[in-house]
């Protein structure tokens, strides 16, 4: 029982990282139909940002969070502006295109930082943990969970309270109607991309707390993050949250009970089974389009 409960913060923190990554994907996918395989490299960029900043000041880890957001966001913006906006309406091609970009970015990281993994030293206040009711809560895991909660609340406030967020929801629900109503959809797209890529950068910083940083860091998470998007439903905040938590726990506990190699297969089977019941994921934007 103890071991099972100790798995809880681990499962939740995996879910938290998946969620941070999937948020950007679900909005770029849901809003623009873009499948961004280079999203994983934005995670990597965020992680390397933390690596470069460490040791500069005493609070460099906290500084790394907004800086990584800016770095990854800028990369996303550049990608959208230079390539992706030429590809709207060709979702499958964006997948291949961004994969090509991701190959180049990975190799670039290998040339800049070297192929071996590097380590980011966590700040002192994130080392160790506390025992609550017999459950070990490592500080770093709690921090990741808190960070994800903060980001989700931020995105939620943005979507529901700010005019810019309302415009974004409008474009997700019906792009043409939004355009006719005077919304500059191109600008909304660019901003969504910036936001999503930035969150991936933040996720990258969070990942430095639980493992080493390497050029292929992003590839470990990108597939799971896409599964979150598929299971949660496109462009849906609550879907992404629920699916990330479900997938995080499913991964964590299945690995605990069976072995890691079977867990992935079982997760895949579970998702295909889930799609039999809800082919479009947990939540769907209601519309009159044929499905």
């Amino acid at each position: 029982m103890g071991a099972l409960a100790n798995q809880l913060p681990i499962g939740l923190s995996i879910a938290a990282v998946l969620l941070l990554i999937a948020l950007g994907l679900t909005f770029t996918f849901g809003q623009m139909g873009v499948i961004n395989m280079a999203h994983g490299e934005f995670i990597m960029a965020g992680a390397y940002t933390a690596y470069l900043l460490q040791g500069l000041t005493s609070q460099s880890f906290l500084i790394a969070l907004p800086v990584a957001f800016a770095v990854a966001g800028a990369m996303g913006l550049l990608l959208e502006w230079a390539l992706i906006r030429r590809f709207y309406g060709r979702p499958l091609d964006t997948l291949l295109l961004t994969w090509g970009v991701s190959l180049v970015l990975q190799q670039l990281a290998r040339d800049l930082f070297g192929a071996p993994n590097v380590q980011v030293t966590a700040p002192g206040w994130l080392v160790g943990g506390v025992d609550v009711l017999g459950v070990r809560l490592p500080h770093n895991r709690v921090f990741i969970i808190a960070l994800a909660v903060l980001c989700v609340v931020g995105v939620w406030l943005y979507l529901t309270r700010l005019p810019a967020g309302r415009r974004m929801r409008a474009v997700v629900q019906n792009r043409e109607l939004a355009a006719y109503s005077g919304i500059a959809t191109g600008r909304v797209d660019r901003f969504t991309f910036l936001l999503g890529s930035g969150l991936a950068g933040v996720a990258g910083v969070a990942l430095t707390l639980v493992g080493p940083v390497g050029p292929s860091l992003g590839t470990f998470y990108i597939v799971d993050a896409f599964l979150v998007v598929v299971a949660g439903g496109l462009g849906q905040l609550r879907g992404a949250v629920l699916a990330a938590v479900a997938l995080g726990f499913l991964n964590g506990y299945l690995e605990f009970w069976t072995d890691a190699s079977l867990a992935k297969v079982l997760v895949f089977v579970a998702i295909v089974a889930f799609l039999q019941v809800r082919p479009q994921g947990m939540f769907v934007v209601k519309g009159r389009a044929l499905v």
Binding site: L95, W99, L103, V104, Q106, V223, K264, L275
Partner: protein, 346 residues
């Protein structure tokens, strides 16, 4: 004779004289490219004609390859022995899964049936629920990821990360002998020819036209009374069988099958050639697969890091400037400069 016929004849002649002109090493490389070309035909069917972007073709390639490798390993070990990697990882008794693969007929059937069955089941479950487009692409990619992790994890059954290697004989052919290698090359070239023929017939048939219709307007096809799920499932299965055949031939040609050849990245690499050559034209896909893999060999020999830049850049360039690939470029060049069909000019 049309341009297409001429180039077909030229290609057949080139493939036929290759064993005489090339050193055994280069011939082996060519045979490897031909294996990838077989996969490319399947991808061109599923993706180009059917609009199903399959990012998990490595899975079917691997299933075919492992089925063949299991037979070859058992054949080598003899009736009592165990395959070498099992001895190394401390397995003492032949696992039940391996038993039937000692039979060549069973193994050959498995090469076709196992990938076909997996693709059929996945296709049926997914397409029936109208899960399509990008969703399907992501699912097929997740399948590739899970498959590789499974192969690595089941060390005693599959040889783990190292996979299986050191094959000496292939149905009585000595794989270290140049003549044996030539025979394996000939078989591969023959299978490629047959695959091309089957795909060509399929594309030209009523079914092929239905497939293109499903790609371009799935809902309309449904309203006309057809079931798009069936059309897509059959095509996906055929393309998986082709990948399985290629995997099975890859084992004697290259002499290894391992998870590193089958994961997410190799599965995507299989697409690069098809995209470069032209996904809508079968011959273009074949040419693209051979050319890209040849380029990979050349660049990996000289500077390995450059290849990743080049591959990524090539992909981006092709998608931006020539989404229909080289075949599309040839096509539009022919339209612009070639003999124009008698057209009524308004």
């Amino acid at each position: 004779m049309t341009l297409g016929r001429v180039s077909l004849v030229v290609c057949v002649v080139l493939l036929a004289v290759a064993p005489l002109a090339l050193s055994p090493f280069r011939l082996g490389l060519l045979a490897k490219y031909l294996c990838f070309a077989i996969v490319a035909v399947g991808i061109a069917l599923a993706w180009g004609q059917g609009g199903m972007l399959t990012l998990g073709q490595g899975v079917f390639f691997g299933l075919g390859g492992y089925a063949m490798a299991m037979y070859l390993k058992l054949e080598e070990a003899g009736s009592a022995g165990l395959p070498d990697f099992m001895v190394w990882s401390g397995v003492e008794e032949l696992p039940a899964l391996w038993e039937p693969f000692g039979n060549p007929v069973f193994a050959l059937a498995a090469v076709v049936l196992v990938p076909g069955l997996v693709a059929f089941l996945l296709g049926l479950l997914v397409f029936r629920q109208r899960v399509r487009g990008a969703y399907f692409a992501i699912l097929s990619q997740a399948l590739a990821a899970a498959f590789v992790i499974l192969l690595v994890g089941q060390q005693g059954l599959t040889g783990g990360t190292n996979g299986m290697t050191n094959f000496t004989r292939f149905f009585g052919l000595d794989l270290s002998d140049p003549n044996g290698q030539r025979a394996v090359y000939a078989i591969t070239a023959l299978v490629l020819g047959l695959t091309f023929l089957v795909a060509k017939l399929l594309v030209r048939s009523r079914f092929g036209r239905l497939l293109v219709a499903v790609r371009d307007g799935e809902d309309r096809v449904r309203f006309l009374g057809y079931d798009p799920a069936v059309v897509k499932t059959i095509t996906f299965t055929v393309s998986a069988v082709m990948a399985g055949l290629a995997g099975a031939l890859f084992v004697p040609v290259v002499g290894i099958i391992s998870p590193a050849l089958l994961g997410i990245v190799p599965s995507l690499e299989l697409l690069v050639g098809v995209a470069v050559g032209g996904r809508f034209v079968l011959a273009g896909a074949i040419a693209g697969a051979i050319a890209v893999n040849y380029a990979k060999t050349v660049f990996s020999e000289d500077f390995a890091e450059g290849w990743l830049y080049l591959q990524g850049g090539l992909f981006v360039l092709v998608l931006v400037f020539a989404p229909k690939g080289l075949a599309g470029v040839v096509e539009s060049a022919r339209l612009r400069w070639g003999r124009k069909p008698a057209e009524v000019v308004a």
